[in-house]
Structure formats: structure tokens, C-alpha cells
Assembly symmetry: C2
Homo-oligomer: 193 residues x 2
């Protein structure tokens, strides 16, 4: 039960990712983290200055792993097409391996209480549901829904980038461009199937 300092620090980090990913920042108390680590609160403060500090350390580590994975994959490719391929594969490999880290960074639950989470999931799902039918009908339903969520994420990513930076944009022009991307992309997926 008793661990040398560096090992304890690592263990706390490992355990924290899970706890924070599952319950979000505010719903997770330092006691929760301590319990999960099989230890008491003051021990946490021997390794991290504050709850913030611990949380930021987690984000930073998770972010580094993601960045490195994608950057390395992209740089190892030669053509544009290959870069795209390697990049996305690396991303999804990271998601699949580093599960809790993904949720910590981008999960819906990341900081919301249960009810808010399900409200937002419902909205996203319903939006995706609304656009799923326009995806080629001869691919299976599950795949269709997955792509639909991808397209919603596409729009979300673009919007977040612009809105959070306060940039103004013409929704008609932007919509047309992203629609072109999506439509051509969907047809490609269709063919590739």
C-alpha cells in the first residue's frame, strides 16, 4: 500500500484520468480522487498544488499524446492523400488506446452533470438523425449514423473555431463550402464501400 513518491504520483495521475473522465471536473471531489487512489486527500496535495493543477497536468499529458500521435503519423507520409490517411488512423488509434484521455478532453460529460449531458447528447443525436438519411442508403445503418455524427462534428468544429475567436462569417458561403466537402466526401465513402 505504501509507495515511493514518483510511483504514487504516477498512480494518482492514472487513476485521476478515469475519475475525471467519468464524472467531470466539478462533480469529482478531491476525496473521490483520493478514494480511487486508495489514499487520503493530503497525499494528493503532496504531489499537486491544487485540484486545478492536477487537472491541468492531466489535460496536458493527454494533449501531448494526441498531438504526438497525429504529428508523427502525418510527417511519416509522403503524399497529401497518405497524410490524410495516416493522420486519421493515428487519431482513431489514439482514441481507441487512450480512451479516458479522449473523454477527458472532448467527452460530453467532461464537465456537465448527468441531465445536461443527456440533453446535449439528445440534441446531437437528433441532429445527426435528421441528416443520416441523406447518406447513401446502401451502407449499413450503424455506419450511416456514425458518419452522420461525423458531419455534425465537422460543422461543430468549424463553428467553434470561428465563434470562439469572434470571427464573422457568411453562413451561406461557409455552408456551401462545407456542404461541398461533405457531399463529395460522402460519395467517396459510398464508392469505397
Amino acid at each position: 500500500m505504501r509507495l515511493p513518491a514518483p510511483a504514487r504520483r504516477e498512480q494518482i495521475l492514472d487513476v485521476s484520468v478515469q475519475v475525471f473522465a467519468r464524472n467531470g471536473f466539478h462533480s469529482t471531489s478531491m476525496n473521490d480522487v483520493a478514494d480511487a487512489a486508495g489514499v487520503t486527500k493530503p497525499v494528493l496535495y503532496q504531489h499537486f498544488d491544487s485540484k486545478q493543477d492536477l487537472y491541468l497536468a492531466l489535460l496536458e499529458e493527454a494533449g501531448n499524446r494526441l498531438r504526438n500521435a497525429v504529428a508523427k503519423a502525418v510527417s511519416s507520409a509522403t503524399s497529401g492523400k497518405q497524410q490524410t490517411e495516416y493522420g486519421f488512423k493515428a487519431y482513431f488509434r489514439w482514441v481507441s488506446d487512450d480512451h479516458d484521455a479522449f473523454l477527458l478532453l472532448f467527452g460530453t460529460r467532461a464537465n456537465r452533470d448527468d441531465e445536461s449531458v443527456s440533453a446535449i447528447r439528445r440534441i446531437t443525436a437528433e441532429t445527426a438523425h435528421a441528416i443520416a438519411p441523406l447518406i447513401a442508403v446502401d451502407i449499413d445503418n450503424l455506419h450511416q449514423r456514425t458518419l452522420a455524427h461525423g458531419l455534425v462534428g465537422l460543422a461543430e468544429g468549424v463553428s467553434r473555431h470561428l465563434v470562439e475567436r469572434g470571427e464573422v462569417f457568411d453562413p451561406e458561403v461557409l455552408g456551401q463550402q462545407i456542404a461541398d466537402l461533405a457531399w463529395a466526401g460522402l460519395r467517396a465513402v459510398h464508392r469505397a464501400d
Copy 2:
């Protein structure tokens, strides 16, 4: 300063969207909301049972507006291509009009403190930065970065959908499919420019 009940309720909702969108749920106290509405705390509790209740009402309303906008646009189109176009345009129109609602639902700040927000933004931005160069070089930089954030969002949307439902997936296969979509899409945007 004195308002009839329904008007006050509306005003509270209007003001709350802004406050919550800017500061997130936990960093916004009921006193903050009350101040912003030019009123005191107990007034809020005459219209909403709890902070949760108020917040969920906001999410619900925002979600409805988004859903309706997209669904209506998509249903008014005749071909698949047109549905895609109308759908995305409607989405971005909503973002542009209903600004605070978008941030409330999907903003990075939605529930995190300042430092976490900037950590996550940095990670997203750096990931986008890493893939931006693979986007056709003859379009302007700003546009390139916007598309890059879209692609990151695409991957994020897909991942969230799968991970939060606990579905297992093969990152290689999924990566290939999404890469096909992205690559074909990017070439289309390129041509359309």
C-alpha cells in the same frame, strides 16, 4: 423595473443564455444570473425550481431551435446534394444568429474554468495546425485553418459517438473510411474555389 411574471421569465432566460455561455455552468452563480437580470436571487426561484432547472430549460430551448432549423431546411430540399447544402447552411445560419446558444451547447468554455479552456483550445488548435498543410495550398490561410478545425471536429464527432456508447471499432478501418471522406471532400473544396 417591475415586470409581469411571463415577461420576467423570458428576460431571465435571455440573460441566462449569455451568462452561462460566457462563463459555464459552475462558474456562474445564481447571484450572477440575478445581477445580470437586474434582480435578486429569490426572483429566479419564483420562475425556476433550481439552477439545474433553469440550465436545462436553456439547453432545451437552444436545442429545439437548432433541430428545427436543420430539419426544416433538409426537408425542403429535393435531392441528396441539395439536402446537404441546405442542411449545412441552416446549421451555420443558426450558429451565426443564435450565437450564445451555440456556445452554451458546444462551446469549449461550456463548463470549464479559464485555464482548462485554453489548454483544450491549444490542443485542438495544434492538432488542426498539424493537418492544415495537407489542405490544398492555393486557398488562403484563414480558410485552410477553418477547414482543418472542421476535420478535427469530424474525427471528434465520430469518436464521441462511438466512445460514449462504448462501441468497439477498428481504428484502421474507421480511419481509412473517414480519411476517404476527408480527402475526396478536400479535393472538392479545392476545385470549387
